[in-house]
Amino acid sequence: MAILNLLRIAFLALQRNKLRAFLTMLGIIIGVASVIAMMAIGEGSKQSIRSSLSGMGSNMITIMPQSNEPGGVRLQGSSIQTLKMEDITAIQKLQSENINGLSPVVSTSGQAIKGAYNWPTTITGVSTDYLNIRQLKLKDGILFSERDVKSFAKVCVLGQTVIDNLFPDGSNPIGQIIRFKSIPFQVIGVLEAKGQSNFGQDQDDIVLAPYTTVQKRITATNYLQSIYASATTEASSDAATVEITRAVRESHRLTAAESDDFQVRTQAELINTISATSSMLTVLLTVIAGISLFIGGIGIMNIMYVSVTERTREIGLRMSIGARGQDVLMQFLIEAILISITGGVIGVVLGITSAYLVSFLLNWPIMISESSIIISFIVCAITGIFFGYYPAKKASNLDPIDALRYE
């Protein structure tokens, strides 16, 4: 009841000065609108970077060999021969819920030849899980089966770049025979084009074959260049990393004193690194917008001070007819909060509108988060209280006798 009265008093007081109330609000409106628009644009670009990165398989975990000998000549990871099929078996034995795909990777580069055409590319020996791990899709044909893997079948799946170069006449590659390092492979599938990766690598320059075939028939090795795994979800990739590390250490019979002779990397780490950059940008934009909100708050304080001085007689009158200091304090505080919250509401609407306008006119990705709305709203209310308090306190401390006679 009392608070309702005070609200009404404050509302009536604001109504008497509509234009000034609006001009005071303007600072808050612009501040809130820019905070929301900036956060929407920042979040939007972050989301778009994330989604293009997760196109590479955001749950992907890579296990690479690494020397654990601090002395001697350090070798490049790919020439270290510590990863074996036994490691894969060890990880499979975990039957972990956090891991839903596992594939060895054996690759070697060479010339692919079809009739008169040839193309330098890389053949990658993998297992049947590989497509899921890398989020690759078949456009045509099929992927080799477990049986093909067991029987070292000479079958392969081609990426679009390889097809463009080996079949420039546009004929259907399925069923055709190509040769890689003079070994004939039958083409059984074609991958959907993926375009360049974020790092400018052509993701379509790829030939996939069963890893057994590559190991036995081309490289004549029994070690793996790397192992790809995929975590069930992005969140479980940390747990999966821990489990994989433990399994591989066991399989390598490493004692507690020895450091890892391999390294486990998650794609999530990479995504986090990159989105951290874009987060920083968002924070920067938001801080700048926040400064304008702060200035809006100072505007409120300024106007409230002027208002208190200008309305000294009114304050004196209110006190003489029974307003307590607290009532006057609340009146001016509520006026300030009303200004800032009304400004906040208008600012939120304006911010959302301008964010959509930006996405519509400039085609920028935007993402309006509820948190940005809630945060700017809370900041508004706090601004109102913070910048309204001192003028209100000043008003409430006036002596009614002096205030009544104020000229």
Binding site: R16, S320, A323
Partner: protein
Amino acid sequence: MEQKILDIRDLKREFVMGDQTVRALKGITFDIKAGEFVTIMGSSGSGKTTLLNILGCLDKPTEGSYLLDGVDVKSLNRDELAGLRNTKIGFVFQAYNLLPRTSALENVELPLFYNKTISADERHKRAIKSLESVKLAERFDHTPSQLSGGQQQRVAIARALVNHPVMILADEATGNLDTRTSYEIMALMQELNAEGKTIVFVTHEPDIASFSTRTIMLRDGKIQKDSINTNQRSAKEALANLPESDDY
């Protein structure tokens, strides 16, 4: 049985200005009974304003006692004084002190906003009744700038009445008005007094004082004279006797 509204005993008020003490009131004793119409007179510097502030519970005495409707004012804190002003005193000021750009009705409602026991509905009803009693029933929605000085002062009187105070305290309420309008206001005051309202009217015009039932003269912080008006003038008659030329 007449009830004492005001009971003042040996009231003193001193102000400390730097290293010297100004004694504005030097021991004043009087009481005012319900239904009296008292004017407090005195030249400037006589302590009139200081006494008014204390009577209006805006200020507290340095020494002596002041009972307002049985409540000892000296023992109250700032907020309790505000509550007392809200329920027991109706102020009428020289400069009207109405809120600008606010309707007459809302101006009259104002004191009731600070009285938590009164509902919005009752606040509205009382304000209308109060405006009717000062004969401004048709001007509810007029803002002060749309009203004449006399009408503004009547809105202020309606505002003073709305809380059913035990005493109306007027501070030079006719000071800004011409003779005719002053008489109109005094006629209204006399009417309210006839209805039983206690009125304390601070003025420096002997002309105005002659409409009251009792006059207290202050001089140098002391009561110089406290006399019952044996021949109280009627403001209505005085109004009728004003020369026509005033009214063009």
